[in-house]
C-alpha cells in the first residue's frame, strides 16, 4: 500500500497520525532525526485540524521522483479557512501568538510545502520530504 490515512477528530488521532507517519518514514529509510521531523510536521498539521477546524484528515503517501524516494503528507479539512495566509506564513507571528510552530514550522521541517485555503471551505496542506 502506497497511501494510508487517519481521520482527525480527537486528540488521540493526532498520536495515531504521528505513529503512522513515523512508521512510514522508517520504512522509506529516513534516519532518526528526519523521522522525528516528519512526525513533528504531521503532529503540527493534525493539531491545527483538531484545534481550528474540528475535524479533517491526514494522508501519508510514499513518493518517488526518479531515483529519489520521499514521503508526502496531505492535511485537509473543511474548516473555516485561514483569513490572512501571508501573515500566518510570516516568521515570528504565528509562534509568538502561542499558535505553535504552525505553518512556517512545518514548512521548515519539510522540503516542499504548499497550502491552499479558502475562507469558509477549508484548508489543504501538502508537504513532502525527500530522502537525500
Amino acid at each position: 500500500m502506497n497511501r494510508s490515512s487517519v481521520e482527525i477528530i480527537t486528540e488521540w488521532d493526532i498520536v495515531a497520525a504521528r505513529q503512522l507517519g513515523r512508521n512510514e518514514a522508517k520504512k522509506v529509510g529516513f534516519g532518526t532525526v528526519d523521522q522525528a521531523r516528519i512526525t513533528t510536521a504531521i503532529s503540527e498539521l493534525a493539531r491545527n485540524i483538531y484545534l481550528y477546524a474540528g475535524k479533517g484528515k491526514i494522508e501519508i503517501e510514499r513518493v518517488t521522483d526518479g531515483e529519489v524516494c520521499g514521503i508526502k503528507v496531505l492535511a485537509s479539512d473543511d474548516g473555516p479557512g485561514i483569513p490572512d495566509l501571508r501573515k500566518v506564513m510570516e516568521d515570528g507571528y504565528s509562534t509568538s501568538g502561542g499558535l505553535g510552530a504552525g505553518m512556517p514550522g512545518v514548512k521548515r521541517l519539510m522540503d516542499e510545502f504548499k497550502v491552499i485555503s479558502e475562507l469558509g471551505s477549508g484548508t489543504t496542506v501538502t508537504a513532502t520530504k525527500w530522502l537525500h
Partner: protein
Amino acid sequence: MPQVVGRQYKEILKKYLESHSEEDLYVGQQFSRRFIEKEIAPEDVISIHKSALLELHPELQDEVWDSLDFLIEMMIHYGFTLRERQSLIRKQEVIQMEMNVATKVQNTLLKTESPIVEGLDVGWISEPARQMNGDYVHFLNREHESSVAVADVMGKGIPAALCMSMIKFGMDGLPGENSSPGNALSIINRIVEKSVDDSMFISMFYGKYDSKERIFSYASAGHEPAWHFNSDTETFSELDAKGLLLGVKVDSAYEERSVSMQQGDFIVMMTDGVTESRTEEGFVEMKTIQNLLVEVKDKSAREIAEYVYKSLAEIQNYKLSDDFTIVIFKKN
C-alpha cells in the same frame, strides 16, 4: 527553573523508557513547546534531562553523566540564539507598528485629485499588492492643460515611500514654462538622481492633455507604453517614447511625442502590475486586457478603470502579485 518542570519531565521520560509509545513523544513535544515559550534554553533542557535520568537510573555509568555535561557545554551558544530570536521578534513587531503609521501618513501625503478640464474625462485606480503602494499617480492642473505622472518605484518599503514624496515635491515645483512632458521628466530625473541610491530606480510615464489643441503629448522614463484607443477603428496603438529610467543618469533626455484625440478616444496609462497580471496559467495577454477595455468603451473613464481592475483581480483570485495602477484620459 521551577522544580515542578523537572518532575513532570521525569514522569514523561520514565513512561517513554518503559513503553516507547508515540503518545509519550507527543506529550513530550507539547511540553518542549512550552519550554520555548518560557524561554527555557536548550542547555537547560539537557540539564533537566540529566537530572531526570539520574533519578530514574542512578546505576548508569559515569560516561553517561559526563557526556551529558559535555552536551550542556555544546548547547550554550544555541541558547544564545534562542534569546536572540526573541529579541528579533520584538524588534519586528515594533517595525510592523511603524509601518502601519507610515502607511497612513503616506496615504494622506500623496493624496492627489483628478483634474477638471473641459472635454476630458479622467478616471483612475491604484491598488497596492502589499501594505505600501509602490506605484504612484499624481495629477497637475494648469489652465487648459491637465498633466499626470504614473510611476512605478522599483524596490518597495520605506525608501519607495519617501521617494514618492520627492516626486510629489518635484512635480509641485515644476515651473509653468517647463511643463512639457519631456522637460518635466528631465527635471524630476535630476531630483531623483541627486537624492536616491544607485540601486533604486523609478519608471514614469508623463502625459499632458491640452484641451485647446486636443492633443495628448507624452514622454516616458522606461515605463510601460500607454495605449491610445481610436474610437473610429476600435483599435489600440501603443504610445511609447525613448528615455531612461529616472535616477540612472543625471542628464537623461526624454523624447516627447504627441497624438491628437477624437471624441470617444481614450488613453490608457498603467504600470506593469496591469500588463503583467499573472494567473496560475501564466501572464494575462495584452489582447485580453484590450478586449476588456472595448467591452466598456462607452462608459465613463472611472467605470472603465474600475472594470479593468475588477476583472483582472478576479482572474488572479484577488491576489495581486504587483501593485496595480491604471489611469484613463477619455475625450468626450
